[in-house]
């Protein structure tokens, strides 16, 4: 059986998996630079801990829930509990060892949980996050991954999601929105400024995210082929376009273009191209990127104007960017790069299917996250005490000071 492994495909997927792995600490740095000095370790640690929790959950039962035998189109069963006899398995429909596929999917699940920490930045109790995180990846991520990639109902419907627009970004973005509503604002939010303490750290995080995203999107071809090549280049195009688009939008509106604006825009572009990367060409990527930069910038301003402390904009960037990306896939998909076409080629059906799948993910992620957050809050309390928040989570949750 092992004779069917393609070393080339395997090489690329091993690499892609490593690249995506790096995104999670990259996200920790991206977020960590944006919080106050007293919470930077907490912020980075949350990403690492999210990664670690999911790493174990996934090989034990998470992969099985997502990719196990389908149960009513909703979730997988436990047939892959602890990955029995996976060593000699090739993953069906691919030419790579099943364990590479498991690892590749693992790093997606991990970063999704990490993205959500935006919502509880600078105020969550570490113990509560660990419990919440385990519940969230199990009850939100795993089913959503099953729906589209594990043979669930949205897959049957014909929805497209190349690398996780709904699964990763809508789920974490709208999950973050729900979590922010339950946990409440940071004390002092809206009263005084909470300036990012280290923007170069955020820019470094941006670099690692962009770098890793090539693994994320081009790896999702699950082969080293033309589809991977296309995903690679449109990913870059959309990121560059969206970075400039957010930058120019803020230049016009605020008179100066922040480097953080460029960085946020680039991430928004990476988010939006994620579901589309295997289905659109360069022109589609430029359109997707140009729109998402302005859109997410506007959504961030809207969030702030509403006094909503979804602190690091997972909702505005990942949630709304992911939503746009999912819909845009149904608009710009072209037969020039795959078997699918979108609205601009007259395929209304695909467009409608994309909207249904995206809205279902929005609703599911938001509602289930809300419930899980409420439960954890009721049982062990999501938030640290006022004093702990004041001295900062680094000291109060970790007993450490970031910089001496």
């Amino acid at each position: 059986m092992v004779s069917n492994i393609s070393p080339g495909d395997t090489a690329w997927l091993l690499t892609a998996t490593a690249l995506v792995m790096l995104m999670t600490p990259g996200l920790g740095l991206f977020y960590g630079g944006m919080v106050r000095k007293k919470n930077v370790l907490s912020m980075i640690a949350l990403s690492f801990i999210a990664y670690a929790i999911v790493s174990i959950q996934w090989v034990v039962y998470g992969f099985s829930l997502a990719f196990g035998k389908d149960v009513h189109g909703f979730v997988g069963n436990l047939c892959y509990f602890l990955l029995p006899n996976f060593y000699n398995k090739i993953w069906p429909g691919t030419h790579i060892p099943a364990l590479v596929y498991v690892a590749f999917q693992l790093v997606f699940a991990a970063i999704t949980l990490a993205i959500i920490t935006s919502a509880c930045a600078e105020r969550i109790k570490l113990s509560a996050f660990i419990v919440f995180g385990l519940l969230w990846t199990t009850f939100v991520y795993d089913p959503l991954a099953h729906w589209i990639w594990g043979g669930g109902w949205t897959a049957s419907l014909g929805a497209l999601d190349f690398a996780g627009g709904t699964v990763v970004h809508i789920s974490s973005g709208f999950g973050a929105l729900a979590l922010a509503l339950v946990i409440g604002k940071r004390s002092g939010f809206g009263e005084y400024d909470m300036e990012p303490h280290n923007i170069p750290m955020t820019l470094l995080g941006t670099a690692l995210l962009w770098f890793g995203w090539f693994g994320f999107n081009a790896g999702s071809a699950v082969a080293a082929n033309a589809s991977a090549a296309n995903a690679f280049i449109v990913t870059n195009t959309a990121a560059a376009t969206a970075g400039l688009s957010w930058m120019f939008a803020s230049w016009i509106k605020e008179g100066k273009p922040g480097s953080l604006g460029f960085a946020s825009g680039a991430v928004a572009g990476l988010v939006a191209i994620t579901p589309a990367a295997g289905y659109v060409g360069i022109p589609g990527a430029i359109a997707i990127g140009a729109v998402v930069g302005v859109l997410c910038y506007g959504m961030m301003l809207f969030r702030i104007s509403r006094g909503l402390d979804e602190s690091l904009d997972a909702w505005a960037v990942h949630g709304m960017g992911g939503l746009w990306g999912a819909i845009a896939t149904g608009i710009f998909a072209t037969k020039a790069v795959s078997d699918y076409s979108g609205l601009i080629y007259g395929n209304v059906h695909q467009f409608v299917v994309q909207i249904i799948a995206a809205l279902a993910a929005v609703a599911y992620a938001f509602i289930v996250t809300l419930i899980l957050a409420k439960i954890v809050d009721a049982v062990i309390g999501l938030r640290v005490s006022e004093e702990e928040e004041y001295v900062g989570l680094d000291i109060s949750q970790h007993g450490e000071t970031a910089y001496a």
Binding site: K37, Y192, E388, V391
Partner: protein, 109 residues
């Protein structure tokens, strides 16, 4: 002339600056410091133990003014920096004998 030295919460700096500007007090020097008052900082509980978190970050504002404005400065800072909780800070007044403007060499006493 006096130097008013105020040690306040960092998050109150903007409010204090604004309040002072309204009173026409613009010039100032800011230093990042750490400090604790008589309460020895903040006490955190964990797993049955207590930990003092002392030397919390503070901001020191130094303003040199003529004697006549000292009380305005003090009151303005105190009012705008107050939250009513421990850690709000302290203001000290220190005599200044002479002041020189580097640009021009002018001396004031």
């Amino acid at each position: 002339m006096k130097k008013v030295e105020a040690i306040i919460r960092p998050e109150k700096l903007e409010d204090v600056k604004k309040a002072l500007e309204e009173k026409g007090i613009v010039a100032m020097t800011i230093t990042e410091v750490r400090g604790r008052g008589e309460q020895k900082g903040i006490k955190l509980q964990f797993r049955g133990r207590t930990m003092d978190v002392d030397l919390l970050p503070k901001v020191k504002i130094e303003i040199v003014v003529e004697d006549s404005r000292v009380d305005t400065v003090i009151k303005t800072i105190a009012d705008s920096a107050r939250t009513g909780r421990f850690g709000d800070g302290k203001i000290f007044v220190i005599p200044v004998e002479k002041s020189v403007r580097v640009r021009t060499g002018e001396v004031e006493t």
